[in-house]
């Protein structure tokens, strides 16, 4: 398996960052950066990361279920993450999440039939003072209202 030249460069540097004989340390970062290109943590990716980090595939496999951002199945092209934890909840986070479900026509951790959007109710993402917050892929959006969320989603629907 090969990745984009940028990612290959990142991985080469990453494997140098840890002490001698400690390549296993790269397992989690390698999985999350690779997942961005492969779309999901596939059995093939697990084999590849295991080979590069010099561990058994099982040692990679067992961490996948632990970290909430690692996914064995592809998410939508735009992964909409709505925080409903306390700071967001107090200012409308739960209502915003309900609105997102209706707007996208899907439930938690589901993907729209065209594969364009997925939705997730997430735990605190560190935007408490600018709540309610939404993260779409890796982009933060603060003080989000249902109207603002509609605009964001409509703009992404038009984008390719």
């Amino acid at each position: 398996m090969t990745f984009s030249p940028q990612l290959e460069e990142r991985f080469a540097k990453m494997l140098q960052a840890y002490p001698e004989g400690r390549k296993r340390s790269a397992v989690v970062p390698m999985l999350i950066y690779a997942q961005d290109e492969t779309g999901a943590v596939t059995p093939e990716l697990i084999e590849e990361v295991a080979k590069r980090c010099e561990v058994q595939p099982l040692q990679v496999d067992e961490v996948v279920g632990y970290y909430s951002m690692l996914h064995r199945k592809p998410l939508g092209k735009f992964h909409v993450q709505v925080c409903t934890n306390i700071s967001c909840m107090l200012v409308g986070g739960e209502e915003l999440y309900e609105h997102a479900k209706k707007k996208l026509g899907i439930g938690n951790k589901q993907v729209t039939s065209d594969g364009k959007f997925s939705l997730e109710e997430v735990e605190c993402m560190g935007a408490c003072s600018w709540a309610p917050a939404v993260e779409i892929n890796y982009d933060f959006h603060h003080f989000v209202t249902p109207e603002k969320l509609d605009q964001l989603i409509d703009a992404l629907k038009k984008a390719n």
């Binding site: 961490v63 632990y66 306390i86 909840m89 605190c124 993402m125 709540a131 890796y138 933060f140």
Partner: protein
């Protein structure tokens, strides 16, 4: 480029760590150098490790990640003459609900933190550092990679830093979504490529941390405070706060306030003043009901308990904690059953599952609270919630079990009437048979 701030600063702030926030290109090394950047490192280079640690002790800086342990003391635990390599690990796994300050310190002033890390490197005789950033903060991983690249290019990282003969390498490391990895030993397991499960202590990380080597672990804000301490002296930093509670901290105010935001306030700042003057008070003139003083793990304070100065010792005296600086304000309309449920859903989701009291305890508490919120609460459930929580206290491998139990106990004890109000209305006859 002008820097866009997330919220307007308040004139009531005491800006030490955040004083460069808002300057054009505040994140650049050039701006940092033009504003006292790396003066502290050069000064620390002239000091012995003992002198550096003594200065940090004098500053009365306490860990800003949540536990509030005296930083200088923590630094003194690392056996710096050990023949093993020593490591510096920076905890940027900011995920305590209510907390959003480390983001700003990395975004607006990454070199301040880097300088703090280098000074710790001098004090520990460590030459490698790992910056563990939560995976959701990808933009900050990219941002820190750029800042680190800039520091290497201009000789502030790498070999012979600023011509002083000191070498230090710093690397970013991405998490992938796990609150538990904010616990320092779980973070170390995660750094080593494993599930982020806490370790048995002792040995403490100072002696056997990353890759079984002596390791100093501190929060982003703790490292960011170091340059000012070395530059102006520990005593000057200590004087900003109250005895044993040195300096300022970034307080993240959220919830029911007119001006939510992150504000730098001295330790010992009056809590009510923070709510009403700094954060503009409660919208609609509503009354204060409760405050989460330092992130969701802290016992809640009722409105009449909030007329206190915000320092670690006062908060401990009133049975709570200053925690990570995440202060959540709740107005009189807040339904405490729903609030308790949301907290418990979080902890049940984030429990690593390693030890039974936490894994089972958070799950059962969540189920009981959910039943209550769904309208099926029983009167006995109210005391059951408290008893179950108390059974978890002190009986779990790491602090996550306590973190789930403590706010729950406080909510059930202080807001019992909210639970009673949510009990299903039943006829006198059915009450007789359901007991």
């Amino acid at each position: 480029m002008p820097t866009k701030l997330y919220n307007e600063p308040s004139p009531l702030e005491t800006k030490v760590l955040s004083k460069r926030f808002g300057l054009d290109d505040s994140h650049s090394l050039e701006v940092y150098l033009a504003n006292e950047g790396f003066k502290a490192f050069l000064r620390a280079r002239q000091m012995t490790p003992e002198q550096i640690i003594e200065e940090v002790k004098t500053s009365a800086l306490r860990g800003r990640g949540g536990a509030g342990f005296p930083t200088g003391l923590k630094w003194s635990f690392v056996p710096r003459t050990s023949p093993k390599p020593k490591y510096i690990v920076i905890n940027a796994d900011e995920s305590e609900p209510g907390t959003c300050k480390d983001r700003l310190l990395m975004e607006y002033d990454p070199h301040q933190m880097i300088e703090g890390i280098l000074i710790a490197g001098l004090a520990m005789d460590a030459h490698k550092g790992y910056l563990y950033i939560r995976g959701e903060y990808r933009y900050l991983l990219d941002h820190m990679d750029r800042a680190i690249g800039e520091a290497y290019a201009k000789g502030y990282l790498g070999k012979n830093i600023a011509g002083t003969g000191f070498d230090f390498d710093l690397y970013t490391h991405s998490g992938a979504g796990a609150y538990e990895c904010g616990e320092e030993t779980a973070l170390l397991d995660s750094l080593e490529g494993k599930r982020g499960v806490p370790r048995m202590k002792p040995p403490f990380p100072a002696v056997a941390g990353a890759w079984a080597s002596p390791t100093l672990l501190n929060n982003v804000e703790t490292f960011s405070a170091i340059p000012a301490i070395i530059r102006n002296g520990g005593a000057a930093f200590a004087a900003l706060g109250t005895p044993k509670n040195g300096g300022t901290r970034l307080v993240c105010i959220s919830g029911h306030v007119n001006k939510p935001g992150v504000y730098e306030l001295p330790l010992g700042y009056p809590m009510l003043k923070a709510i009403y003057d700094v954060a503009g008070g409660i919208p609609g003139g509503k009354k204060l009901k409760a405050v989460v003083p330092g992130g969701s793990s802290c016992p809640l304070l009722k409105a009449d308990e909030c007329d206190i100065p915000m320092d670690y010792d006062t908060l401990a005296k009133v049975g709570s904690m200053l925690g990570s600086g995440g202060m959540v304000v709740l107005d009189e309309t807040t339904d405490m059953v729903r609030f308790a449920l949301r907290i418990m859903r979080f902890y049940a989701h984030e429990s690593c599952g390693w030890c039974i009291p936490c894994r089972e305890g958070t799950t059962w508490l969540r189920k009981i609270l959910q039943r209550f919120d769904d309208g099926g609460g029983r009167k006995d459930d109210i005391s059951l919630l408290g008893e179950l929580s108390k059974n978890m206290l002190g009986r779990t491998f790491c602090a996550l079990g306590d973190a789930a139990a403590m706010p729950t106990i406080s909510i059930v004890e202080k807001f019992r009437e909210d639970f009673e109000r949510r009990l299903p209305k039943v006829s006198a006859q059915s009450q007789l048979v359901t007991v």
